[in-house]
């Protein structure tokens, strides 16, 4: 067995990624967020099998049943029913796919496009960078809701269009975050050193810049997921979102507002679902931020 002559202990230094992961695991709140997130992911996949009833199915003789722990409630309609007799639990579970699942997909696509464009604009200099920056500023200034409204107005009200609209609203945010991160990295001296070593643009980007901006990007990604969930739910609430038969948490909330006095559970449960999913994502994001900061401190 090879033995070193050094009398110092061997120091196993974990890679930064592993360090961040170990740090992340030690925050119970962040882990809670992670578990809830995974829970939602699983529901996204198994919702059609887990829901007791099809979401649009109306039960004419079970209108406005309160949740099962209420004295008038029934276990078969676990969280109660709405004014058309639709089971709330099934609607919530299917809504996971619509609100949560589609926001994940949207964020992933927006991240790819936004990060790619952001890198292009970040690595460019002078006039080109200036122009891209101005375009970015202009797009960022438009409130995301308005952008989504216009796009839905142009192309009609379907779930796919809503997803595209929210995605397009997210792209500038990714661009802005990536652009700032890349620009910041370019001022560092190790980039100058790499350039003096003879690296071309792509090599500088891949080997020097990318590993260092990865952390900022991951944090931005979690932030964007929470924004996407809230945007899709808001559009649903304003009834500009996914059209009627699709169960969506925001739409459920909007439907429940009329009944808020006689059947408040129509408003509470969808709201709690949105709150829980956004909170979980934010907890993960916060845990990551802390882990990243302390990983290098």
């Amino acid at each position: 067995m090879a033995r070193t002559n050094s009398i110092y202990q061997e120091e196993v230094i974990p890679t930064p990624l592993r360090h961040i992961w170990m740090n992340f695991i030690s925050y119970p709140l962040a882990m809670l967020g992670l578990w809830v997130f995974i829970g939602f992911l699983i529901i996204t996949l198994i919702a059609p099998f887990a829901a007791p009833y099809p979401p649009e199915l109306q039960h004419p003789n079970a209108l406005l049943y309160p949740p099962s722990w209420h004295e008038d409630g029934q276990v078969s309609y676990f969280l109660g029913t709405d004014d058309l007799g639709r089971d709330i639990l099934s609607n919530l579970l299917h809504g996971v796919r619509t609100t949560f699942g589609s926001s994940l997909i949207v964020t992933i696509f927006a991240a790819f496009i936004g990060i790619f464009l952001g890198i292009l604009s970040g690595m460019s200099r002078g006039l080109k960078s200036s122009i891209l920056n101005h375009i970015l500023d202009a797009t960022l200034a438009i409130p995301s809701l308005l952008l989504a409204i216009v796009l839905v107005a142009i192309s009609g009200q379907t779930l796919a269009n809503v997803m595209i609209a929210v995605g397009i609203a997210l792209v500038p945010q990714f661009m802005r975050a990536t652009h700032t991160a890349v620009h910041h990295e370019l001022t560092r001296e190790y980039v100058v050193a790499a350039k003096l070593d003879g690296a071309n643009q792509f090599q500088i980007f891949y080997n020097v810049i990318l590993p260092n901006i990865l952390n900022a990007l991951i944090v931005q990604f979690t932030l964007a997921i929470s924004i996407a969930i809230i945007d899709i739910a808001t559009l649903g609430f304003l009834r500009i979102g996914a059209p009627a038969p699709t169960s969506e948490w925001g739409t459920m909330l909007a439907d429940g507002v009329d009944l808020i006095f006689i059947a408040p559970w129509n408003v509470t449960f969808p709201g709690m679902a949105i709150f829980a999913s956004v909170l979980a994502v934010n907890l993960i994001g916060y845990g990551l931020q802390r882990a990243v900061k302390e990983g290098f401190g």
């Binding site: 202009a138 200034a141 438009i142 409130p143 308005l146 809230i230 304003l238 006095f261 408003v267 934010n282």
Partner: protein, 343 residues
Amino acid sequence: MWFYIARRVNLFVFTVAVLYFLVFLMVNALPGELATNLSGIQNPDIAQYDEIVAQYQLDKSWFNQYISFIKQRIHGDFGVSFGNGQSIFNDMLTLLPATIELCVYAMIIALIFGLPLGILAAIHYKKFGDFFLLGTSLIGYSIPVFWLGVIAIMYFGLDLQWLPVAGRLNLLYQVDPVTGFTLIDIYLSNIEYKQLAYKDAFAHLIMPTLTLAVIPATVVIRITRTTMLEELNANYIKASQARGLHPITIIFHHALPNAMQPVLAQISLQLSTLLTSAMVTEVIFSWPGIGQWLIQATYQQDYPIISAGILVCAGFVILVTVVSDVLLIATTPQRRSAVYGSN
């Protein structure tokens, strides 16, 4: 410094030009007749059609169309709405102050609550106070604004009957809309019962403003905490401690002003998110502002209003960003020299 301001103004002009271009593209993509969407006149007769073509140069190249689009809008001609045929510009003048009022008050409340709490969190770093504040701000950040508004209405408005749930002012009070900002208008008007009018306006303001202020407040708390932590670990703070300065002096005279700059910079970035939340809040509380107007227009597919709304909202955001940028540069010497030194 004037050089920098000139650059900023140049930036403003250019960004607005890009904005107009984007909206121009959008208007061209909307379904229906281009002439109708631009001017708002449905089914125009020959004379009107010719006039529209002349105004917007629809017979020439797209570049001319773009330029004349800008010209028309700058002169205040936003067309008329599909719904009621009224001039959009006049409608906007009455509605915009309402939204601005809501946003400004919400931002002020967010700062008033957020700044001290952020400083507290930084001072109690890694102790209970810090965790508690962070937890609260995380929770506040995760509550969807419409849920919060609906629950507030249900509880305070309907259940306890403490606060009114809709509108800006009880119709009993006939206040002339001079500036559009209710509190100022009450002050300027000469009705009797001014005290009661103030109370009423205030009661109408509380719920929407507080609902809207939650998310910016949490953002302010987080950012203030981060920047204060950075400042409190800086060298010059240690040096002031070594000179024996009182901790309160150190925090408020040295750490806080330096920490404020990133906070203010972040706030202007939050503006478009704030507008989105404001629009939803207006719908819930039936607040007569731009947001509610725009949403109604969306239900009725009133395209001129939608495009005008985007121009106004985004233009407002850009204006505020540029103004706050200039103010920031004017008041912080370090940034100024950094600007001159580098590009």
